[in-house]
Amino acid sequence: MITAQNLTKKYGDKTVVNDISFVVEDGKITGFLGPNGAGKSTTMRAMLGLDSAQGTTLYDGQPLSSYKQPSQVVGILLDAKSFHPKRSARNHLKVLAQASGIPVSRVDEVLALVGLQDVANKQPGKFSLGMAQRLGIATAILGNPKHLILDEPANGLDPEGIHWLRDFLHQYVTTGNSVLISSHLLSEMQLMAHNLVIIGKGSMIASQSMESFIQSANTGAIFVRTTDLNALSAALTQQKVAWVAERNGLKVSGVTSDQLSTFLFQLGMPVLELAAENVSLEDAFLKMTSGAQEYRAAVPPTDTTPGGQV
């Protein structure tokens, strides 16, 4: 288990990480989310002691510096291009294996594991981003560590690579290991992570299970489409049921799908489409971090029209 406690990092007067605490549970993949500039990478670096920061991070109850071979406790991938571009992939791993007291025979094992055995003697400076990510993952797992801290490991991977990464990490945690992973690929994170830690502008926003986080953003609204939306919206307003026009239907709140379908039946309207709102991680994330964006693009106008009141 990794326990980050009260991590705070300042650059001059600017606080980029502000009193962040969370736990990365054993046997679980913990997604680390936040808008650009939220402080995710800085938090990870502080957890590893790469950047000086206030607070502590304990790995199974002990600080990383208390372990003789830290890279056999936690494997890291902070930047896919962290290698000498002219040193071959095999030699890159060999250097790190020697420094960490890991048998050099492990190098070929991890190269095969990430599918880079055919380019092991090539210079990684010529690798694609996806191949560089695979080398980064090989580096992270070189010491067969109990914990992994991965910053955007899926970035640049092709669909097969992402699928491999997901399966690999799921397999990795089944033996009681833990993984902290950041990614902007929210749909992928939804499939991958069990728990979530979300920060914005350097501060904690949420730390909970994936399921409860998504549920917390679910309004229970139901999307309905029928032949006469005007008549339906008027009837709903009359019944004091809240609705919002959305795409070619209505999003209705405060009723169950059974109640709504019965209501349509009573009105003599055919049900062309009826679906409970399916909140994704992306929906929940955007809702939760709407006030915590460090950098924000202009928002295009939407086609939703507010409807009746409850």
Partner: protein, 244 residues
């Protein structure tokens, strides 16, 4: 400590540029040997060759290569920051102090290895030139003991200066400017401070190579040691305290 040392050695040996630089050093050593022993006395068997040709050759080639050596040793740490492998290096050990010591040992070992290579190759080149010109090499005077101490320290100090500047600056461009420009500034400042210019950093460290009557005074050597120690202390402090 030993795993870190082995890893640092492998870092140097697994780069093609290491061998290219060694080739450049060998060429410069051959050139120095040829120029020092060959030019100005072709086929002059009647005139005995100077007994200091070997000594002059070794000093010439080391003087020629020392700045390059300084820059090369700085790469052992600057490349780590430039390629962001420092995160792996720092998390490979529980102590940044050990990493620092390992890099110091490797810089010293590398400097001595290159110094030895330059010495051997330049002497061979000078010997060949002397023989080609019809001179004997048996008359060459070489105080091996003095040479090992003075040139050994000279090479070690410059290797460490490169490494320590690398730790402090983390930037190869600024380092190159310092290594090449500061000695010139020191030379110019000699016009102002006259005799005392021998205590300036590069001047004092450079004077360690001199042997015999030209050997540096103890105070100058102390000044050189002081500069290296202060630079090393600053490098260690910054390496431990600064973000990796």
């Amino acid at each position: 400590m030993l795993p870190l040392f082995k890893s640092e050695i492998t870092k140097i040996l697994t780069l093609r540029s290491t061998y290219i630089m060694a080739g450049v050093f060998v060429l410069l050593a051959i050139l120095a040997g040829i120029v020092t022993a060959g030019l100005g006395m072709p086929g002059t068997n009647a005139v005995p060759a100077s007994p200091n040709i070997f000594d002059n050759t070794i000093h010439a080639v080391l003087g020629l290569c020392i700045s390059i050596l300084t820059i090369v040793t700085s790469f052992t740490i600057i490349n780590e920051y430039r390629n962001n492998t420092i995160a792996y290096t720092v998390t490979a050990s529980s102590s940044r102090y050990n990493i620092f010591i390992a890099k110091v040992l490797v810089a010293v070992a590398y400097g001595l290895a290159i110094g030895l290579l330059l010495t051997i190759v330049s002497i061979i080149a000078a010997s060949v030139m002397l023989l080609v010109n019809g001179h004997s090499i048996t008359g060459q005077e070489l105080n091996i003991g003095s040479l090992i101490v003075h040139l050994g320290l000279y090479v070690i100090f410059y290797s460490l200066v490169g490494l320590f500047l690398g730790f402090i600056l983390r930037n190869i461009v600024i380092l190159i400017v310092i290594v090449f420009a500061l000695p010139i500034v020191e030379n110019l400042s000699g016009l102002l401070i006259k005799e005392n210019s021998k205590y300036l950093p590069f001047t004092s460290i450079g004077s360690i190579s001199a042997t015999g009557d030209a050997a540096a005074a103890p105070l100058v050597i102390l000044a050189a040691i002081g500069y290296v120690v202060v630079l090393g202390a600053a490098a260690l402090y910054l390496f431990i305290k600064r973000d990796a």
